[in-house]
């Protein structure tokens, strides 16, 4: 069951010369974990924003083609309507905090207040969400006092609390330290297991190789859509689009070069570990 469909979608920002995204055709099934990779300027953020309807409703520009999210036509609908289907979180941990609440629980509740969710239901969801992100003890603290990783979890939880079917994360960990990154990635893994459709744009290909069902490589158009293994081992393709393969893949390449290994290139840490172990037994 496809929950997201892009048909010949193109977008040009007002005042820019070229098309940021050109002729995108994609289908994403319910429950999939999709990884988005591409260099800076390849259109990843535009792609992520379009699923919430920020493109075309927030940014001025020209749109062609259509985007259907859970049966709703993005161009004909509104951001408010889409926000109950799609939760969008982006890079900057602190800029996503609305400041509408002086405490974390109020920040989480903000979206529900806007949707007119009843008092009891609101409080129930806030308590549940605090548990899911592991910040129950911080309930009454100001969101601005938290670390980057915790703020990012609050930002994600603040959209998740609206029960969207799809969670879109635009480089959620690029400004975080290793601990923060781990906290966010663990949360995303947990959510993916619950069946939420996840779309995540990131440079962390090691994480994607472990958890993504498919990866989309962008370079102002869809260059390739395939399994992590197929894309992350296509060395020439990655290079052509200013990306690189992981250290794990690099090692497997060298093993091949030395004639020690003859199977497919590897992207998984544990798989490589076992192959090497076998070589020195």
């Amino acid at each position: 069951m496809d929950i997201i469909t892009f048909k010949n979608f193109s977008w040009k920002y007002s005042g820019y010369r070229g098309w940021t995204l050109h002729d995108i055709n994609l289908s994403i099934a319910k429950g999939e974990f999709i990884g988005i990779i591409g260099k800076i300027g390849s259109g990843r953020t535009t792609f992520c924003s379009s699923m919430l309807g920020l493109i075309p409703h927030f940014y001025p520009g020209i749109m062609e083609g259509e985007i259907i999210i859970d049966g709703v036509n993005v161009e004909k609908s509104s951001i408010s309507k889409l926000s109950s289907i799609v939760g969008l979180a982006f890079q900057s941990p602190s800029n996503q905090l609305t400041g509408a609440g002086t405490t974390i629980e109020e920040e989480l509740a903000f979206g529900l207040q806007n949707l007119g969710v009843p008092y009891e239901e609101m409080h129930k969801r806030v308590s549940e969400m605090l548990k899911i992100i592991g910040l129950e003890k911080f309930r009454k603290r100001s969101p601005f006092e938290l670390s980057g990783g915790q703020q990012q979890k609050v930002a994600i939880a603040s959209v998740l609390i609206m029960n969207p079917k799809i969670l879109v994360l635009d480089e959620p960990t690029s400004q975080l330290d290793p601990l923060g990154t781990e906290q966010v990635f663990d949360l995303v893994k947990k959510l993916s297991k619950k069946g939420i459709t996840i779309i995540m744009s990131t440079n962390n290909i090691d994480y994607l190789s472990k958890f993504a069902d498919r990866i989309i490589l962008f370079d102002n158009e869809v260059v390739k859509v395939d399994t992590p293994k197929k894309i992350l081992t296509d060395i020439e393709l990655l290079k052509k689009h200013s990306l690189t393969h992981s250290v794990i893949t690099d090692v497997s390449m060298k093993l091949k070069k030395y004639g020690l290994y003859h199977k497919d290139l590897i992207i998984d840490f544990d798989e490589l570990k076992n192959v090497i172990k076998g070589m020195i037994k």
């Binding site: 670390s147 794990i248 090692v251 090497i276």
Partner: protein, 272 residues
């Protein structure tokens, strides 16, 4: 010959809240030092003492053997250049070359001398072709290079790069690494970073911080074998090191893929 020295350095923002405790270190000319540690461990607080943005609460900081407190920030910036993490916090001119000229012109440079200095810095970071562009037309990678060029143009002996690769893509990372390797020939470099792979490749020395204290100061090879210390400050070694450490028989201090392959060949030979 030391360029920066910290002696029994303590720093508190407000009474009782120690952000730096008992820091003792010495950075020598020509070194490339990486300072690593969790956010909040005191890395930025420490380097801000090197150009005088912060002054010690207790203890002292010596720059070229003179106490930092004797000079103003502007004076210290001629010796210690600090490139801030977010280029948007400093870029205010509408032309790249004017932006880069800001620092040296504050030092009193003008005319031909200034122009030559600006051109030279832009060439060093690889942005010479973009010198007439508007900074807003640049992407993040290039903006970071502009920020670095604007400090290089002041020709300080020490250049501090605060998280130069955060938020960058692969192309950006390559540019920054190449730049560090160029700068190390003529400058002392301190880099604060979360990218352990980069740190392993470029640094001569690693300073590991946790809760305001220096918990390790030594060779990268050794740093990444101190797993207990790394865990304390929520760090993981570079992925190749992690791989080597997870396989019995491998040396624990491997830093690069080439070293890994060499070790593998050695172990296979031994097996025979």
């Amino acid at each position: 010959m030391s360029i920066v020295q910290a002696k029994d350095l303590y720093f508190e923002y407000s009474k009782g809240v120690s952000v730096l405790k008992n820091v003792n270190l010495s950075i020598n000319k020509g070194e490339v030092v990486a300072i690593i540690g969790q956010n909040g461990s005191g890395k930025t607080t420490l380097v801000k003492h090197f150009n005088g943005l912060l002054r010690p609460t207790k203890g002292e900081v010596l720059i070229n053997d003179e106490p930092s407190v004797k000079k103003t920030v502007a004076e210290l910036s001629h010796i210690c250049g600090y490139v801030f993490q977010n280029p948007d916090d400093q870029i205010f001119n509408s032309v790249v070359e004017e932006e880069v000229a800001f620092g040296p012109s504050n030092m009193g440079m003008k005319g031909i001398e200034l122009k030559l200095r600006v051109d030279e810095s832009l060439r060093t970071v690889g942005l010479y072709e973009k010198k007439k562009k508007h900074p807003l037309d640049l992407d993040l990678n290039q903006k970071k290079l502009v920020a670095i060029a604007s400090i290089v143009a002041m020709n300080p002996e020490l250049i501090i790069l605060d998280e130069p690769t955060t938020g960058q893509d692969h192309a950006g990372l390559i540019m920054v690494e190449a730049l560090i390797n160029t700068l190390r020939k003529t400058h002392t470099v301190i880099i604060i970073s979360h990218d352990m792979n980069l740190v392993a490749r470029v640094s001569d020395r690693i300073i590991m911080m946790c809760s305001g204290e220096v918990i390790f100061d030594g060779l990268p090879k050794v740093a990444f074998t101190k797993n207990a210390l790394m865990k304390k400050t929520y760090l993981k070694p570079p992925i190749i090191t992690e791989l080597a450490q997870s396989i019995k028989g491998f040396r624990r201090d491997i830093l690069t893929v080439d070293e890994f392959m060499d070790e593998l060949m050695l172990l296979r030979k031994k097996r025979k």
